[in-house]
Symmetry: C2
Subunit: 352 residues, 2 copies
């Protein structure tokens, strides 16, 4: 299909930019002896996960069991589940995975250890375990090195569970001191710290400076987005996914309506330091997507000298690309901008 | 499946509440001689669209051609497309629909008229047309009665297009004066105003007071949500869809993490007058979902005396139910709360 033949709104992906983003991150990790374990929650596309593995990733990261099931079905055989799994249903699904691939699971509670233990018991297969700690993200993770050590000891008491190390998100100035202190405490107990896994695209290219870090989990870097461009030195040209949208109404001189609303772009904003609005319109950088309804993007043209016409197609760099690809069953990929092919976002809808 | 057998996060729907919401709105419309044309963008479920028709709806409303295609395939034969359709690809798809069902299409530009005209020509079938006007929503729609009349005259010049009336969203104090003035101008031209269609659940039960209104388009009323409860006299018990989520981490005394993030609840907020946070936790009404990551709901418990435990299941009334059901391939419906059945959100993913 040519670009003109694509119906809108639709996410389009430049594979040459994807390839460059993947190669740069892999080269960075190789140069610094970091194991790269890409997070597939950003793209949820089988071919892209396989490409990440081909380029040198040690395995992939998934948030959801459903994502891991799709990727395991496709032949990916080394998966880190970086999300707390709790309860019998998760244990059963985890067991089914543990029977067929190499699994590592993050944990931050006793209840979490019980869930993984039940899975390993059901599967009669070993499961590697990382203790998640908090280093500024204020979401999951144990709060102190002492808690991390207590968890490590508890994990080591369970048959088939293998304590492997620590995991955190994002990487922050708190990361290295936490790891250092935990390492010292673990050494006193004679427990080895094999893996220290840090996550997040914004801080990725500084990961080598974090003492003791062995593994990098990044998702957004494959596509990049407006947030990453605003927070890092990545240029706008490094954004691989754009939403192709059409101007469907021009009710006033200063207002355009595009067919990309919150069901296409999501309602995610960028940090205030990065900008305003719900995405960047490349052809009209002075226009602002000021408001979204489900299928309407309301564009303020008052600061844009040029004004788009009805029927004009615009390309939008999304604020947060992970939630955009999650809204679409397919992306349309292109090598050269001339020919577009639909690829299934296979793990979209893997909500559990 | 019992509730305990459901994996989380998952949208669960009480069909008895759905039935009550549908029946009340239909009775209201019947009482006041309004034609009810429910908007299926909220639920996107075939069985629910059919139930709306059974109860007395004159047809359904869709935003997207893709939604209309799914519903036409399922046997719904009278559809209003309330969204501006622009360009050749839309014209071709519209033509395919016009060949098999009764279609009405809204329009607010000459380019839009051309698109509908091309569809009618390709289909060799008539298409009814409504002119969309703006009555405070500041998105699509012509701005003045004179523009509306000019559009009506332009539509009447096109073979196979039948001007039927006006459409607006939302209903506001500007609606009635705009319609009155347009009606007067149309009468001078000898043009009949058959349909005046107004939309939006918040103002639905006042629609009878809007002079000249003949048709009501409402979507959210089938499920209701936190926004509707906050803006209208609908009680929280009228909310039919809830998200069942699990507490997966309790890293600190005042923080819980639930497995419903922006990929489950969306990032839509409620108006500041209604409340704060990303959804209402029924079991802990004093807790606030202060932040969402993709798969993490970060809950502040500092104002909640009782604190949930890891593994506890919570039900969340979403801020904006239309974007929540759009994130899930299936909802789990129940008549009595004991037994749950998966229903396909068949028109989810109908982005174009």
């Amino acid at each position: 299909m040519t670009r003109d033949e694509l119906d809108t709104p639709v996410p389009i992906v430049r594979l040459d930019i994807v390839e460059d983003n993947l190669a740069r991150m892999q080269a960075y990790c190789d140069r610094h002896g970091l194991r790269l374990r890409p997070h597939i929650k950003t793209h949820k596309v089988i071919a892209l996960a396989k490409r990440q593995m081909e380029l040198g990733a040690v395995g992939i990261t998934c948030q959801k069991l459903g994502e891991a099931e799709v990727m395991a079905d496709a032949g990916v055989d080394d998966i880190l589940l970086s999300y707390p799994l709790i309860g019998k249903i998760k244990a059963q699904r985890l067991a089914a995975l543990a029977r067929r691939i190499k699994l590592t699971v993050a944990v931050d509670s006793e209840n979490g250890i019980s869930t993984i233990a039940e899975a390993a018991r059901l599967a009669r297969a070993p499961i590697d375990v990382l203790v998640e700690f908090e280093s500024g993200g204020e979401r999951t993770g144990v709060q102190t090195p002492a808690e991390a050590v207590a968890m490590a000891k508890a994990i080591r008491l369970v048959e088939l569970l293998r304590f492997k190390g620590l995991m955190t998100y994002p990487i922050s100035p708190k990361t290295a001191p936490f790891v250092r202190e935990t390492r010292t405490l673990l050494e006193r107990e004679g427990i080895e710290l094999e893996i220290v896994s840090g996550g997040g695209t914004p801080g990725a290219y500084s990961a080598h400076a974090v003492e003791n870090l062995t593994e990098l989990r990044v998702g957004t870097y494959i596509y990049n987005d407006r947030t990453i461009v605003g927070l890092t030195s990545e240029p706008q040209e490094s954004c691989a996914l754009r939403v192709l949208a059409t101007v469907v109404s021009r009710p006033t001189e200063d207002r355009a309506i595009i067919d990309a609303g919150s069901k296409t772009l999501s309602s995610d904003l960028v940090p205030a330091t990065v900008g305003s609005g719900y995405g960047l319109i490349e052809e009209y950088p002075c226009a602002t997507i000021v408001r979204l309804n489900e299928e309407h993007g309301i564009v303020d043209l008052s600061r844009s000298e040029r004004k788009p016409k009805i029927g004009e197609r615009l390309t939008i760099v999304p604020n947060h690309v992970c939630v955009v690809s999650n809204l679409h069953d397919e992306i349309y990929v292109t090598e050269n901008g001339a020919e577009f092919t639909p690829w299934s976002v296979a793990a979209r809808g893997a909500t559990t």
